[in-house]
């Protein structure tokens, strides 16, 4: 054939370097947020992430206080925190499962990019989004249900919120991974969101629930972080609720690891069994 001796040049791809990974994490995460989050348009965002949470808080505040005679504040706080699941669960599921919908998954996996950077980067926009929804939820609770937040407690409340939204997004990532294989990803996502309303002390005080339900709640997101947030709103300081917040972060980390394990398994299995292209 041709006589030119071709010495392979160094590829210009710097994939795998720290800088490339960080850029992929932050910038790539942001681009994929816009590309994959079905609700990123105002015409959908407003009804779904602002409208629906508003009425959810009002509904449970009304139901809870009517049925139990307790103060509406309990239910308002519980739901103000829970509505972050709209982003953490639905958002993360879409961010992952929609790759299959658009047929971009195999283009993505053919690149040399670090899988940690790709999927890790998707957390950040959704955590931010979830925080935003919760902050909005607290605003509604303050406006209509008289929930007062004292300035001194804001820091602890915020920390508890971050921990909770993180662990919620982490279980959302697990759900996203599962939905790569199952036919309807949003089914599991919807189910999870409803179950959070039942467990986790969001609407029903934990001690009212039977033992097994308390046990399940303790391994789900929200439970510990929510307790911390409730206590903080009531005036507790970091020394009192720090332990709960740490547990919540720990639960989130465990789910995040589970998610990555799941993605690695799915990718390996797809390479071995060619399951990538099934819609």
């Amino acid at each position: 054939m041709t006589a030119t001796a071709h010495t392979p040049t160094r590829p210009i791809s710097q994939a795998g370097s720290l800088r490339a990974n960080l850029r992929l994490f932050w910038l790539g995460g942001l681009i994929s947020y816009r590309a994959l989050f079905n609700w990123a348009r105002p015409s959908i965002y407003i009804p779904t992430l602002i409208g629906a949470p508003t009425f959810q808080i009002l509904f449970f505040a009304a139901l809870g206080s009517y049925a139990t005679g307790m103060d509406a504040e309990f239910f308002a706080i519980g739901n103000a925190v829970q509505v972050s699941a709209m982003s953490g669960i639905y958002g993360m599921t879409m961010a992952i499962a929609n790759e299959r919908w658009f047929g971009t998954l195999h283009a993505l996996l053919a690149t040399p990019a670090s899988r940690w950077a790709i999927f890790g980067g998707r957390f950040i926009p959704f955590i931010a989004n979830g925080l935003l929804v919760s902050v909005y939820g607290f605003t509604i609770s303050w406006l209509f249900l008289g929930v007062e937040l004292r300035v001194e407690t804001l820091g602890v409340v915020a920390l508890g919120l971050v921990a909770t939204v993180f662990s919620c997004s982490a279980i959302g990532a697990v759900q996203g991974g599962l939905s790569m294989r199952l036919r309807d990803g949003l089914f599991g996502a919807n189910l999870l969101v409803f179950l959070f309303l039942l467990f986790c002390g969001v609407n029903i005080p934990l001690d009212v629930l039977p033992g097994w339900m308390q046990a399940v709640s303790n391994v789900l997101p929200f439970t510990h972080g929510l307790q911390a947030v409730r206590a903080a709103v009531g005036g507790a300081g970091l020394d009192q609720v720090g332990g709960l917040i740490a547990i919540e972060f720990g639960i989130g980390a465990a789910y995040a690891l589970l998610a990555f394990g799941l993605f690695s398994y799915l990718e390996r299995s797809a390479r071995a069994n060619a399951t990538l292209d099934v819609r």
């Binding site: 001796a5 210009i12 994939a15 490339a20 590309a35 283009a107 040399p112 797809a270």
Partner: protein, 345 residues
């Protein structure tokens, strides 16, 4: 310059690649099934070559390509890109290859073309300082400059295809794999794509192209491998492949409602090598391969009997005829016999 005797590392190397799938048949009683999609494919592509992989649907083209680009693990056998094993040095391989596939899917519809390219630039680890320039160059190359801010969901099929090409070249890969890139493109778009592909090779890249458009393979490729039923049944330049049918003439007979018995009668003729039929709207075209072609036209027509006949044309065999011949003769052939019969360079 180093002399040509210096051994150079092949750009792509496939050694006895085998890929089987485990699947099931039946709904009530599921029986496990072993499907052998690729049964032992071997070839080498030197750097700078435009290599074509031709074959009918289901022959194993896409499976082979996916093994080469690290998306599928071979059941057995080895593949290397510039010496890097696709299974053991996956990241090194991925840094050096670009993957372009056809069709409507595979792009993020909701964001702009520019965002798609930016995202993949990050995925390929293109230096931030280079990204803007690279993206601009590629948009220019594929003719999308000025339209990059539009959302991909509004793109036509041709524009999507061009964006696929741009995406596959972001990190300036040395080897570019194109999987049926001109599917669904109109003739103008397809021709522009071919010009772009030729340009890539002229720039020193190695290109592996799968297609089932014969004229495209004939026009573009330096060498062609024909794959059928999971095996390579021919490997060589276009001229080599046509050599198998070079001493033949094709007589094209246009008929209106030809009966199967008449076609059989044609096949029975001792000098007829093969008869293939193409269906048109109201007519059929019989492609009769023989060595003496137009000299036996009268006999052929008489064998057709009462059949209404239109145009009769004699011509040289094309790559398509060679291909059809290869596929027909190798589809039922014994495995080892097919390998022995493969023409190689």
């Amino acid at each position: 310059m180093t002399p040509a005797s210096q051994p150079e590392v092949p750009a792509i190397e496939a050694i006895d690649l085998v890929r089987t799938y485990r699947t099931h048949t039946g709904v009530i009683r599921r029986r496990p099934l072993h499907v052998e999609a690729v049964k032992g494919v071997s070839f080498q592509v030197p750097p700078g070559e435009l290599f074509g992989l031709l074959g009918p649907n289901g022959a194993g083209k896409t499976t082979t390509i996916k093994m080469l680009i690290t998306l599928l693990l071979p059941t057995s056998g080895t593949a290397r890109v510039f010496g890097h094993d696709v299974v053991k040095e996956t990241t090194e391989v991925r840094k050096r290859i670009g993957y372009v596939f056809g069709g409507d899917r595979g792009l993020y519809d909701r964001v702009s073309a520019l965002d798609n390219l930016r995202y993949f630039a990050e995925l390929y680890g293109v230096e931030p300082a280079d990204q803007k320039r690279r993206i601009a160059e590629l948009l220019d190359l594929v003719g999308l400059t000025g339209r990059e801010q539009e959302k991909v969901e509004g793109y036509s099929r041709g524009m999507r295809q061009r964006l696929h090409v741009a995406r596959g070249l972001l990190h300036d890969p040395e080897v570019v794999f194109l999987d049926e890139p001109s599917i669904g493109l109109d003739p103008v778009g397809a021709r522009e794509l071919r010009v772009t592909i030729k340009g890539l090779v002229e720039a020193g890249k190695t290109v592996l192209l799968t297609t089932h458009y014969m004229f495209e393979a004939d026009a573009l490729c330096d060498r062609i491998a024909v794959i059928n039923d999971g095996r390579i049944v021919a490997l060589g330049t276009g001229a080599d492949l046509k050599g198998a049918v070079a001493n033949r003439t094709i007589v094209e007979i246009e008929t209106f409602g030809v009966a199967p018995e008449a076609v059989e009668a044609l096949r029975d003729d001792p000098e007829v090598i093969a008869v293939n039929m193409e269906e048109r709207d109201q007519s059929q075209i019989l492609l009769v391969q023989s060595e003496r072609g137009t000299q036996i036209t009268q006999r052929l027509l008489s064998r057709l009997g009462e059949t209404r006949v239109g145009k009769v044309v004699g011509r040289e065999p094309t790559l398509e005829d060679a291909y059809v011949h290869l596929i027909a003769t190798t589809s039922e052939a014994d495995a080892t016999a097919a390998r022995a019969a493969a023409v190689s360079v």
